[in-house]
């Protein structure tokens, strides 16, 4: 493969980068907050709802935590590809919703990754010592303010390495939207391989993914440095 071929293939594949990037950021923008909320709910467990009626609290807390647990189980327990084709083809066949391929992929990715983020954040929340909760509480912090100012900043640092891992997986998972015939990098590469009868386009595609994952790794290194204490 000479340099000219390489650059030409890179130019062709670059039209697919847009979808990869969009899917990546949309998944994070919706998946991270949803995952954080789910993680906080799961972590609160029996203390989530607090009316003054004990039986009502017990019932509500049990139901809510069971629902979130079920959601996480389904999302982590079935393949992302299956979830995506279900949202795209399945919902259309059932005449529930006829989504375009890209929106269908975005919805599935955000919902799926939220389940993983939920568990990552829950792990981080568990790592914050009980004494931190007690110190904040005797200083008069309400549970909400305590979570925002004291617990989440400490949890976040603990979560960073695992989040970096998950983001790298996400970059590579974006290639799954190939199955919905969206013209992302892998789709374009396959077209080029068929056209040129040479696997060079796959190598170029690999370089694209490597560049993304390298940038993500660097970004998380920076974050870890910034949030260390």
């Amino acid at each position: 493969m000479n340099l000219f071929t390489f650059l030409d293939l890179a130019r062709q594949l670059s039209y697919g980068v847009q979808y990869t990037l969009e899917l990546f950021f949309i998944t994070l923008i919706f998946g991270l907050p949803l995952g954080l909320i789910l993680g906080l709910i799961r972590n609160a467990g029996k203390n989530l709802v607090n009316t003054h009626i004990k039986i009502l609290d017990d019932v509500l807390n049990t139901v809510i935590s069971a629902v979130v647990g079920f959601y996480v189980w389904i999302m982590r327990g079935t393949p992302l590809l299956l979830q995506m084709v279900f949202v795209y083809f399945g919902l259309a066949v059932m005449q529930v919703a006829a989504l375009d391929p890209f929106p269908a992929a975005c919805v599935t990715f955000a919902l799926n990754y939220a389940a993983y983020f939920c568990e990552i954040f829950r792990g981080g929340l568990l790592s914050v010592e009980k004494g931190q909760h007690e110190a904040a509480s005797v200083l008069g912090f309400t549970p909400f303010k305590k979570t925002i100012h004291i617990i989440i900043p400490q949890m976040f640092r603990v979560c960073l390495p695992t989040l970096a891992n998950e983001c790298i997986t996400l970059v590579k998972d974006t290639s799954l939207i190939y199955a919905l015939s969206i013209t992302e990098i892998l789709t374009l590469a396959t077209d080029a391989v068929r056209r040129t009868t040479s696997p060079a386009a796959y190598v170029v595609a690999a370089v694209f993914y490597l560049i993304f994952t390298f940038l993500i790794t660097q970004f998380f290194k920076y974050l870890e440095k910034k949030f260390s204490f």
Binding site: N50, H52, E129, G131, Q132, E134, A135, A136, S137, V138, L139, G140, F141, T142, K145, H149, I150, P153, Q154, R157, F227, F229
Partner: protein, 248 residues
């Protein structure tokens, strides 16, 4: 007679089947320094934690500055409990400083975010209080850069920032070596001389004897003696004598 700050009557507490507090009653007046002593497992810390609502009592009544925190084991609303307990500050054995923010932020976070006080005024006040505990040069340090004694003095300063009427100390020097213990006790002694109302769970007998106005001796999950230090140490009953001899 000074104003009553804390009144506890018939406090009972179980952890599962284990009884931790049995019918504990005492009062604390304004400006008093109370030392709580006794063997491990006698319920000292649990009693202290009940006062500031970190543990819920099963039965009994706790009044803080005339306001009822719980009556016969039934608590006020969460919000009411928070406002009643806001009169008290607490210092822990493990310091529990917020590790992700600097010393000065440890001091101003709570009054700023909880009481919505002005940040500039809080910084001025934080400087005064840091000077008082001898840590003026540490305002920008992170907690993990400090020694244990310095951490505990920051923890005391952090509690003082909320203008508490009372301070509760849960074995404040138990994780410190003797030298660092001294610097923390010096700060507490100064507070006692300023007539801050304090309840101190401690194993420092010499400190308790010198500084406390009254000593509560706890054993077998209840208060076995409540008296001035001279009486406790000079004419101890059999159980207290046994305890004191065992630790000296």
């Amino acid at each position: 007679m000074n104003k009553t700050m804390i009144q506890v009557a018939g406090l009972c507490k179980h952890f599962g089947d284990v009884e931790v507090l049995r019918n504990v009653s005492f009062t604390v007046s304004k400006g008093e320094t109370i030392a709580v002593i006794g063997p491990s497992g006698s319920g000292k810390s649990t009693m202290l934690r009940c006062l500031i609502n970190l543990e819920k009592s099963d039965n009994g009544t706790i009044d803080i500055e005339g306001k009822t925190l719980c009556k016969d084991g039934i608590y006020q609303s969460k919000k009411a409990c928070r406002s009643i307990c806001a009169k008290m500050g607490m210092v822990f054995q493990n310091f529990n400083l917020f590790p992700h923010i600097s010393v000065i932020n440890n001091l101003i976070y709570a009054p700023h975010f909880v009481k919505r006080q002005d940040k500039k005024e809080l910084i001025v006040k934080a400087h005064e209080i840091l000077a008082k505990v001898g840590l003026s040069d540490k305002e920008n340090a992170m907690p993990n850069e400090l020694s244990g004694g310095q951490k505990q003095r920051v923890a005391i300063a952090r509690a003082l920032m909320m203008n508490p009427d009372m301070l509760l100390f849960d074995e404040p020097t138990s994780s410190l070596d003797p030298q660092l213990t001294g610097e923390v006790l010096a700060v507490m002694k100064e507070l006692a001389m300023e007539k801050m109302t304090m309840i101190i769970v401690t194993h420092e007998m010499a400190f308790a004897r010198e500084v406390a106005d009254r000593i509560l001796f706890m054993g077998e999950n209840s208060i076995l003696a409540d008296d001035v230090p001279e009486k406790i140490f000079q004419n101890p009953n059999e159980k207290i004598a046994g305890f004191i001899n065992s630790i000296i």
